[in-house]
Symmetry: C2
Subunit: 330 residues, 2 copies
């Protein structure tokens, strides 16, 4: 009789903290993307304009895992007026051998937040200077907090600057940062001036980082743009820096690359390395301390599968979760 493991958000927060193990798991997903015949179809998107709603469905099969995830990510932008979060969602985990449902991870988007922050840490691990200590956060929301948390196990961060469109939000963000000094910057240029690593985490539709904000040695992780209309880096930034991304197929359409292509700053046929290829050693990332690197992250189904597999493995070891027995009458 098939049995299915159900895990709620609270359990998943305990099972999968944002730590080095989560970062390593996401790194494995990037390596798979570059070196194995991963199956990752284009994102399914359903729009419900009448309710200011949208739903994305992502999935990927990675040969290294016995299971794969199908992630459902709704965004309903009238929810705050109803006292509900805009973003929620869940992941289904299916057996890669039989297609049978193994688990339903009712994470309300928590695992997505973890895998997204972990990807930022992987990008910094492979692309930032080894001696990077100062980080600039552009945006002061939940992902900014998680990106900083994920960065600390991979680089010895001793100073943070933060800028946000809403200065009050940046101030309250800075007050909540523990264990490292955090300063609010008056503008993006000031925030980046001393930074070794900059992380953009906004839903901006107009570029925030311009060419004149760059300096030798800087690494930028741009993780805010995951839709056609979003854009955090001026096109010239991509012409100046070494450009690396999570998945070219996606960043050509959804990421920062998309806007640089539109602006004609990058040529249509030009080829770039993916993060997994840098990890695999088949392509080069940073080759000099003075290089300026950009990592364009749009989020992949491969990351979702990797984090879901980790959650289910841990739940099984600890006998966590509710087991639902799906009795079948024939």
């Amino acid at each position: 009789m098939p049995s299915i493991t159900l895990l709620g958000e609270a359990q998943l927060r305990e099972l999968v903290p944002l730590d080095l193990a989560a970062i390593d798991q996401i790194e494995a997903a990037f390596l798979s993307l570059a070196t194995e015949p991963v199956a990752m179809p284009p994102i399914l998107r359903l729009d419900l304009p009448e309710h200011a709603g949208e739903v994305d469905v992502k999935t990927a099969w990675l040969p290294r895992f016995d299971s794969f995830a199908i992630k459902v990510s709704p965004g309903f932008f009238n929810n705050p007026s109803l006292g509900l979060p805009s973003l929620n969602g869940l992941m289904l985990v299916l057996s890669a051998r039989t297609g049978m449902t193994e688990a339903v991870l009712l994470d309300n988007g928590y695992l997505t937040a973890v895998r997204t922050a972990a990807a930022g840490a992987v990008a910094a691990r492979w692309l930032a200077r080894k001696d990077a200590r100062r980080v600039a956060l552009i945006g002061a929301g939940e992902q900014a907090r998680l990106q900083l948390q994920a960065l600390r196990p991979v680089r010895d961060i001793d100073h943070v600057t933060v800028w946000a469109r809403d200065a009050a939000r940046a101030r309250s963000f800075a007050e909540c940062v523990k264990g490292v000094p955090c300063e609010v910057s008056a503008n993006v240029h000031d925030a980046l001036a001393q930074a070794d690593i900059a992380i953009t985490t906004t839903p901006s539709r107009t570029p925030l980082i311009r060419t004149e904000d760059l300096h030798p040695g800087l690494h930028i992780t741009a993780m805010g743009s995951d839709a056609e209309h979003k854009n955090e880096l001026a096109p010239g930034v991509l012409a100046t820096a070494k450009y690396i991304c999570d998945r070219l197929q996606q960043t050509r359409v959804l990421g920062e690359l998309h806007h640089a292509l539109d602006a004609g700053v990058v040529k249509e046929g030009e080829s770039f390395a993916e993060l997994g290829q840098v990890i695999a050693g088949t392509h080069r990332g940073r080759t000099d301390d003075a290089d300026i690197t950009v990592c364009d992250l749009t989020g992949t189904g491969a990351q979702d599968t990797a984090i879901a597999v980790l959650a289910l493995q841990r739940a099984r070891v600890l006998n966590a979760g509710t087991i639902f027995h799906n009795d079948v009458t024939l």
Copy 2:
């Protein structure tokens, strides 16, 4: 605290029998497709060739329902050798207003079987002669059985012929039919000779019904083809009959129409009615008892949403299912 209703296959079989109410619910879905701004994105498909597996994800939002379904349909064709069914799957039901998960319907494909058979009944209700009594089943599997069951509330069926590639299977199918005589036919032509309604339910890759098998007054429901390579009707059949389908956008790519287009028998720009337009009265179906009609069904996310909504409505009325409380720690 968000709570989610879990329903297993056994409960769903009790809650949603294949009856007139299910047929009416599916008819409402077709009417929506023709008359309302339904959102129904293309199917997401993941292939896992290493395990002879594939997964389809379908979804649709229909303005008339407060919820919508996301259906996950895996097909893993090595499963029978492991003692498992090839097809299984589940549906998620989300609120159309907030995107919150309302239910997980662990139906193992049962609801898909019901909504597919119900669509056949809707097609016959609107396109077969009112006095249709004799039905020919091409294929002798589970869907043939369900299509016959669904047909009986909408037409007064008094005779069945069945043909299948595997004659032994057709014989054992005929023995199991209750309440109406069922004869095994030696070939497709004989099966159709006296039929008012023919229903094709096979995964055939080569046409089974040819032009010379047609006769005035016949209605054909072709529901087997739901993928590019499947084909049950010779292209000439579409040139001879009045062609109606569930969704032109899909049948141009996946259905019988696709093969008639490839053969050049139907012109690329030619327009046809969808079943919902016939129901809405904006397009004509059968206008004469001597007409030959074909209804090409590929299966739509709209049907999935309609049947899932029915299941959840009934579960709520009866307090059926297991409630999972998704506690959130913040």
